[in-house]
Structures are given as C-alpha cells and as structure tokens.
C-alpha cells in the first residue's frame, strides 16, 4: 500500500465532483454569501468610500473587495473539502475507503484534487458575478496567474482541513474549527480592509495569517495594488501549501477508523 494510485485519486476526485454538482443547496449557499457581501458591503461602501493612497486612486471599494471575496470563497470551500472527512466518518463511508488496498497518501491527494476542483469552480463563479457588477480582469495572463494562486491557497487549506479532521473524533469539532480557525483567518486576512496603517497588534496577526498573502497576491494580479511583492506572496504560500499538505497526509495516515 505504498506508492500513489492515480486511479484512486481519480475516483475520489470524481466522487467529490458528482456530490458537488448534486448538492445544489451547497452551491447556492457558497455563491449567495459572497454575492451579498458584494451587493451590500461593496455597493454600500462604494458611494461613500474611495481609496486615496499612492497607486490606489480610482479603485472603489467594490473592486477592492472582489479579490478578498474570492479568497474567502477559497478558504471556506477548501477547508470544508478537507473537513468533509468528518462527514465520511459520521456516515461510515470512511471505512469503505480506509479498508481498500490503497495508500493513505493517495486518499489525501484524491481529496485535495476533488476539493481543489470544486473550490476553483466556485472562485470562478464569484469572478463571473463580479463581472456583472462591473469588475474586470485585464487579460488572460492575469486570469491564469490568479488561478495558479487560487490553487496554491486552496491546496493549503484542504490540507489544513484534512489535518484537523484527522485529529477530531466526531462532528462536534467542526464548529470549533469554524469559529476559532476559519473565521479569524478570514477576518484577519485583509479581505475586507487594506493592510496599510494597521495598529501593530493587528498588523502582526494579519502577517501570520496565510490567507493574507493569498488575498494580497490576487489583488496585486487583478488590480495592481499589493502590499507585498508578488514573489514574497508566492514563496510564503508555497511554503504554507507544502507544509499543510504534508501535515494533512501525516495526520491522516495516523488516524484510525
């Protein structure tokens, strides 16, 4: 059971995708939330607030918000994908997977592949909605570059979700992760506000939040406003991604069903 089985990765990916397409309520929920943010926060602040900092002239709050909301969607969707191990455990399906002659690493990679795909689909649909609100990406290169960063962020958080789910015995842990991990990561990431001129304590917290670099990179690519150089964002996200994937795989391989 060592080595990687591509067939296993593929079938786990396929299952995730089928389940995703069939769970209409989940899709609607995941899209409606950012839509509300965009319509209410974005449009609401747009009229009264305008950025004046260097290089930020002409950018309204709605535009500023869109990359943040994409970051949010990726965070939620990919964490859920990782944590869905809890559901599989609850409904017994995890046993079926765990007793197969397939390495745990393949099982983790399959889940990452599935979670990644549904995450990107959702992120792209946010982009589409944003388009209706007048948001534009410059070109195809920018779009592709954004997707690369989305994959980086998403993979990291699927890994993190897998790691948490492997250490939890039942669904109760989910609420804890939601309130004490996912929410702080979202609010501290600069998805809703610029990082410039924050008080030091808040600045520090945003610096240790991996999503900060994701949102910053997306903003840099899409709007040409970024706090860190893109290369820095990339390196930090790559480290985050690999670390989480590794942690997730190790924890998952240790867990019993």
């Amino acid at each position: 059971m060592r080595g990687i089985s591509f067939e296993a990765i593929y079938v786990l990916w396929l299952r995730e995708l089928k389940a995703f397409i069939r769970a209409r309520s989940r899709i609607v929920g995941n899209i409606v939330q950012p839509l509300f943010f965009m319509a209410i926060l974005g449009v609401g602040f747009k009229s009264s607030m305008r950025f004046t900092g260097v290089g930020m002239q002409g950018i309204d709050y709605l535009q500023f918000l869109v990359p943040g909301l994409i970051g949010m969607t990726i965070l939620f969707s990919s964490m859920f994908a990782g944590l869905s191990i809890l559901w599989d455990r609850q409904f017994g399906f995890l046993r079926e997977i765990m007793v197969a002659p397939v390495s745990r690493l393949s099982l983790v990679l399959g889940r990452v592949a599935g979670g990644m795909t549904t995450t990107i689909l959702q992120a792209l649909s946010i982009l589409l909605i944003a388009y209706l609100f007048g948001f534009r990406i410059k070109g195809i290169m920018e779009l592709l570059l954004s997707i690369i960063f989305m994959i980086l962020i998403g993979t990291g958080f699927v890994g993190m979700g897998v790691a948490f789910a492997s250490k939890m015995e039942d669904m109760h842990g989910f609420q804890i992760v939601m309130n004490f991990i996912i929410m702080p990561i979202f609010f501290l990431s600069g998805a809703l506000f610029p990082l410039k001129g924050l008080p030091p304590w808040l600045g520090f917290l945003t610096y240790i939040d991996p999503l900060t670099y994701g949102v910053d990179a997306l903003r840099g690519i899409m709007l040409n406003i970024s706090y860190f150089p893109l290369a820095i964002d990339f390196v930090i996200l790559a480290i985050f991604c690999v670390t989480m994937l590794f942690t997730g795989a190790v924890f998952f391989s240790q867990c019993e069903v």
Binding site: K18, R95, P101
Partner: protein
C-alpha cells in the same frame, strides 16, 4: 486475481491465540479458530462480545495485541495489502455514499480496487443481479430502503472477487422478511462464488440456518465451536421449562431421576434437559402437586442455539428474537390441592 500463498491453502482464515487489548481491557481474549474454503462460519455472541474487533483485526484495519492470524494464507501483520485484495467486507454500520447511485457506489469501489473497465462493467452487472438490484442501479442510495442498502453493500463486498467475505451482522435491524431474503442471497453467493464467509450475528436463527459451523463468543472468549446440529445435541434432547411456586424445591425433588440430564433455575423458571419430553410433562405436574407445589406453566421444545448459549455462558443473549422452532407450549394451570 493473483494466486494464494502456497501454505495454508485449504484454510480461508486461521487465527491462533489472538488477543486485543484496549487500555488493558481485553476485547478479545486469546481466541483461536479457522474457516475452511467455501465454508460459512458464524461468530455468535451478544453486544460487546468482540465480534467486530475480530473482523477489524482480520481486515488489517486494527493491530492485534498478541497472537497471529492468516487470511487466505497471508499474515495479517506482514501482508496487509495482499489481504485487503483478497477480502470483501460488509461493515456493521452502513458505509455507502448516499449521494451516489447504487451503480456509482460499485463503480467507485471497483476503481479503488484497480479493476479495469471491461471487468468492472461485467462484474457490476453480475453482482447487482445477484442481489436483485439491477433495476434500481440508477437510483440514488438515499432513496434505498434498509434492506436494499444491505444488499448493495453485500454486492459491493463481492465486486473485486474476494476469496473471503466478512459479514458483520448482515441483517441487524431489518424486518423478518428482509432478513430471510438476505439469507437467501448469502446462500446463493456462497454457492455460486465458492467464497468463504465469516459472519457475525447475535441472532440465533441466523447462525442456525446459515452457518456450517458456529463459534459461540462471549466477553472476548470463544467458548465452543461446532456445527449447529451438534451444538444443539450437546445441550440435550428436549427442553422443559416449568413455572412452579418453588423452583429450588422442585429441583431438589428431581435430583434422583436419571432422565433429567441438566437442571438450572433462570428467570424464575426451572429449566430441564430431558429425554422423551412429551411423556414427562404429566409426570412432572403430578409430582409437583404431590409436594404441594403449584405449576403455572409448562413448555416443551427442541433445543435452539439460544439454549446452547445459555448452557455455555449461563445467560441468555440479550435479544429474545430467535424463532423457537418446534415450540410446543403447554399452558396448564393447576390449583393447589391439599
């Protein structure tokens, strides 16, 4: 599929002195048994006896504390991958993905086990027909009934041509008709696929009708293993239960009759193992009256595995469900006469 290891070829499962401890608590305690090729072997025991734990160890998802075991000739501690390819499992709890259809669940399984497309499609058709679910193949599992889920799980367990099938309480919580239906499927697949089956249950009738041999397990120990008929014969010919005003006294009175082979008081009733039971009933009633004991109820029946269980463990299995075959119950009320 690949060939079995050369040694132990005739035995599908061989377990010797297997022990599993959870923080010092022995969930299974030094058990040994074997299952022959093509055999249906039953582990009969109450809740918490250690049945599921045994299956988990044999399917290599749990490590044993002590002892050794071979499944299809492969060592559980050294060749888990080989074992996993040789076994099919139907778990005690449901383990289907109810967002997928029946067919998709099987397809998922087949791919996970690396089956090629042609074989996959052929086999899915085969096993779905075997459990009568072909017509429902494109229905989402969330719309399946309990019995259909169980049958689908059995079909799934067979997908990859396993040599040994584990069925952990295959009919738990199903109604009588569905249970009979599933038994029929298990018999058919055992014949057609020539597969060895290790089945756990706490239903007496299930063990009795389905299994070639039964091991009685309680508190982690296997107390006896034999064919159901032989087990029943061990207990005695006929069983009489009497509700009498003083069972203890009645027991004393009966101490000198050689046709009474075993006596015990349980649940306020006196249970006797006797020969020629029908003839003894009038005699017992008269005898009781002679000693001024009142008899409220007398029943006579052939022994079931329930009695075997009682005989070896001194208690009943919790569920009182088994059909007591050939149950003749004579309710005779008598008034105390002085």
């Amino acid at each position: 599929m690949d060939n079995s290891a050369d040694s132990n070829k005739k035995q599908a499962i061989r377990v010797s002195n297997l022990t599993k401890e959870f923080n010092g608590f022995k969930a299974i305690d030094n058990i040994s048994f074997s299952v022959e090729e093509g055999e249906i072997f039953g582990m009969l025991g109450p809740n918490g006896a250690g049945k599921t734990t045994t299956i988990r160890i044999l399917s290599t998802t749990l490590k044993a504390t002590k002892g050794e075991a071979f499944v299809w000739g492969y060592d559980i501690s050294k060749q888990p991958d080989k074992i996993r390819r040789s076994i099919g499992i139907v778990f005690q709890d449901q383990t289907l993905d109810d967002r997928l259809t029946g067919m998709e669940n099987l397809d998922f399984h087949a791919r996970l086990y690396g089956m090629k497309r042609n074989l996959r499609e052929k086999r899915i058709k085969e096993v779905l027909h075997l459990v009568d679910l072909w017509d429902k193949r494109n229905t989402l599992v969330k719309y399946y009934s309990g019995g259909m889920c169980r049958r689908l799980e059995i079909a799934r367990g067979l997908m990859h041509y396993p040599r040994v099938l584990f069925l952990d309480e295959p009919t738990l919580g199903l109604d009588a008709q569905t249970r009979h239906n599933i038994w029929e499927h298990i018999r058919v697949l055992n014949k057609r696929e020539k597969i060895a089956i290790l089945l756990t249950t706490h239903y007496m009738d299930e063990a009795d009708t389905l299994c070639n041999r039964v091991g009685i397990i309680d508190k982690g120990k296997i107390l006896i293993i034999d064919e159901p008929e032989k087990l029943k014969n061990m207990v005695g010919k006929d069983l009489i239960s009497i509700k009498v005003s003083s069972p203890e006294k009645m027991m004393q009175i009966l101490s000198n009759f050689e046709w009474v082979s075993n006596k015990r008081v349980y649940d306020g009733l006196l249970h006797l193992e006797v020969t020629e039971g029908e003839k003894r009933i009038p005699f017992l009633i008269n005898l009781a009256q002679r000693y001024s004991l009142s008899v409220d109820l007398v029943s006579l029946r052939r022994p079931t595995l329930e009695d075997v269980f009682l005989h070896f463990t001194g208690k009943r299995i919790r569920e009182e469900e088994g059909t007591l075959r050939e149950r003749i119950s004579a309710r005779i009320r008598s008034r105390r006469r002085r």
